[in-house]
């Protein structure tokens, strides 16, 4: 009988390391929850507030649509310009950071710049730029440019490192200068992927540009934050609905662009 030969086999053997890990995590969970003073009482009193709050959100108030449109357009401008600037900086930086084309003394500094750009949340960068260059769209553009350089740089570096070196060698063998190697052997191999990254990053920037306004860096976020502070919740609802619609349109556009470039 087959069962006899495998009698010491269990269908689903228990994993003791996994169980201990779950236990440790459970203890941490309780500890952290008590640390943050998360009590059920607080939660339930909040739910009562929540019901009132949600009731005040509806119906959304689109009466001040001019203010809404102005903020949304500024958010769009910030997203577009930050993406454009981000590409302009990230593409050469990625070329410097690619280990298959550049020596170590060029790749390390370029990589360090990208890591620092990526480590700080756009809002932190935005607040620093607000302090440095004043309130308004410029701070938002600069902040999102920094974020774009971090992410685009990383993705582009990886794309460049994955190219086939045969074409690079072929172009080099003709005695072409470095700039021709880049434009005839590297760019054609990575171009459509770059377009994909840029549309993805524009999408991400659009999301973030609706938020940097909260710290005064331009866009719809500022309008949203002041509506919150004036307890103008039906206008808040209108703004959030508009943001959701805009971001959905952005997502659909990104998919269409990717389809055109066959990624």
């Amino acid at each position: 009988m087959a069962a006899r030969t495998g009698s010491n086999r269990v269908a689903f053997p228990p994993s003791w390391t996994a169980r201990v890990a779950w236990l440790v995590f459970g203890i941490y969970f309780v500890y952290a929850a008590s640390h943050l003073e998360l009590t059920p009482a607080r939660f339930f009193s909040g739910l009562e507030h929540g019901a009132k709050f949600v009731a005040r959100l509806f119906p959304p108030d689109f009466h001040r649509w001019e203010l809404l449109a102005k903020g949304m357009i500024e958010s769009l401008q910030i997203a577009v310009l930050a993406s454009a600037l981000g590409v302009l900086i990230a593409a050469p930086l990625a070329l410097c950071a690619a280990r298959n084309l550049m020596p170590a003394w060029a790749t390390w500094p370029a990589r360090a710049v990208m890591v620092v750009c990526r480590s700080f949340h756009p809002v932190i960068v935005a607040i620093l730029f607000v302090k440095a260059v004043g309130f308004g769209a410029l701070a938002g553009i600069l902040a999102l440019t920094v974020a774009s350089v971090g992410f685009l740089g990383k993705l582009m570096t990886e794309a460049i490192e994955e190219i086939s070196l045969k074409q690079v060698e072929a172009v080099r063998a003709t005695g072409a200068p470095f700039i021709s190697v880049v434009s005839y052997a590297v760019v054609p191999q990575v171009f459509s992927r770059f377009v994909g990254f840029v549309s993805y990053e524009t999408d991400a920037n659009l999301r973030n540009s609706t938020m940097v306004g909260i710290v005064g860096a331009g866009g719809i976020g500022g309008t949203l934050f002041s509506a919150f502070q004036r307890f103008d919740y039906d206008f808040v609802c209108a703004i959030v609905l508009t943001i959701i619609v805009l971001i959905m349109i952005g997502e659909i556009l990104t998919l269409r662009i990717k389809k055109v470039f066959g990624i």
């Binding site: 640390h35 943050l36 607080r42 507030h49 357009i73 401008q77 310009l81 607040i127 260059v133 934050f225």
Partner: protein, 264 residues
């Protein structure tokens, strides 16, 4: 008769599509450049102002760490972890509803996807504003904000992982008459487990970054300390907090990559 045709990399349709995308991009950039409200003096002034800010940040107030940074930093990490756990708990049912092979009702799939897209479209900070309005300032609001925003991301990826699950073992369980819970735990779970941990770790890494800014809207964590330092123009302290955030983010990134290698 020999048919001579010139080789072309792209068809006319493809070229038109590409051209339309380029045109759209250039038009968007030009339109934005022309209409954006930026004061030119601010641009010319920017390098000087940024240099001035960096000079004020030096020397970094290292001594401030034990008294004013350590506690809020830990709070941020707790917010990120608990928020991720909560997000996963809420995302799993939605992911099951969104996966077409698990839930064979199209309207449920679309409903679940709508939830996921809306959760994702509203930024963490905007969620935080909502929850601060409901629960008052503090870590609870921050944790819920992280959780609700993360549902979108976690649920979408988890749903996609479920859709890629192999039919074979599920059919075997169904044939044996297993109830749906057994199918979920013994059929789907082992197949999506690597993807699941990958998604959770990735999201936790993102949430560590996000938890640092929740304090700007009063939702707890190290952002509150940073906000105070910046409002009081205590640039050396702000620099200390920024360094601490940088270190935590880098450690989190290294830790998640190592864990991912070991678990997967």
């Amino acid at each position: 008769m020999t048919d001579v045709r010139a080789w072309e990399r792209f068809s006319i349709g493809e070229r038109m599509g590409r051209f339309a995308v380029y045109l759209g991009m250039v038009a968007a950039i030009v339109a934005s450049l022309q209409t954006v409200e930026v004061i030119p003096e601010f641009i010319s002034d920017a390098p000087e102002q940024i240099g001035d800010m960096l000079r004020r940040m030096w020397p970094v107030a290292w001594g401030f760490y034990p008294e004013g940074v350590h506690e809020p930093l830990l709070e941020s990490l707790h917010i990120a972890t608990l928020g991720t756990v909560l997000a996963v708990l809420m995302a799993v049912p939605v992911a099951f509803l969104a996966a077409r092979n698990v839930t064979p009702f199209a309207w449920l799939n679309y409903g679940a996807k709508l939830i996921l897209v809306s959760a994702r479209s509203v930024n963490t900070l905007i969620w935080a504003l909502f929850f601060v309005a409901v629960f008052g300032p503090g870590a609870l609001a921050g944790m819920l904000a992280i959780a609700f925003h993360s549902i979108g991301f976690t649920g979408k990826l988890l749903g996609e992982a479920l859709e890629e699950a192999n039919r074979g073992s599920i059919e075997a369980l169904e044939a044996a008459g297993a109830p749906w819970l057994a199918i979920a735990i013994k059929g789907y779970w082992p197949q999506v487990r690597p993807a699941f941990w990958g998604i959770v770790l990735f999201r936790w890494d993102i949430n560590v970054r996000e938890s640092a800014v929740l304090g700007f809207v009063g939702a707890g964590g190290v952002g509150m300390a940073l906000d105070t330092a910046l409002n009081l123009f205590q640039w050396e302290r702000a620099a200390m907090i920024l360094v601490a955030i940088l270190v935590v983010v880098l450690v989190a990134e290294v830790a998640t990559t190592q864990l991912r290698k070991r678990i997967l």
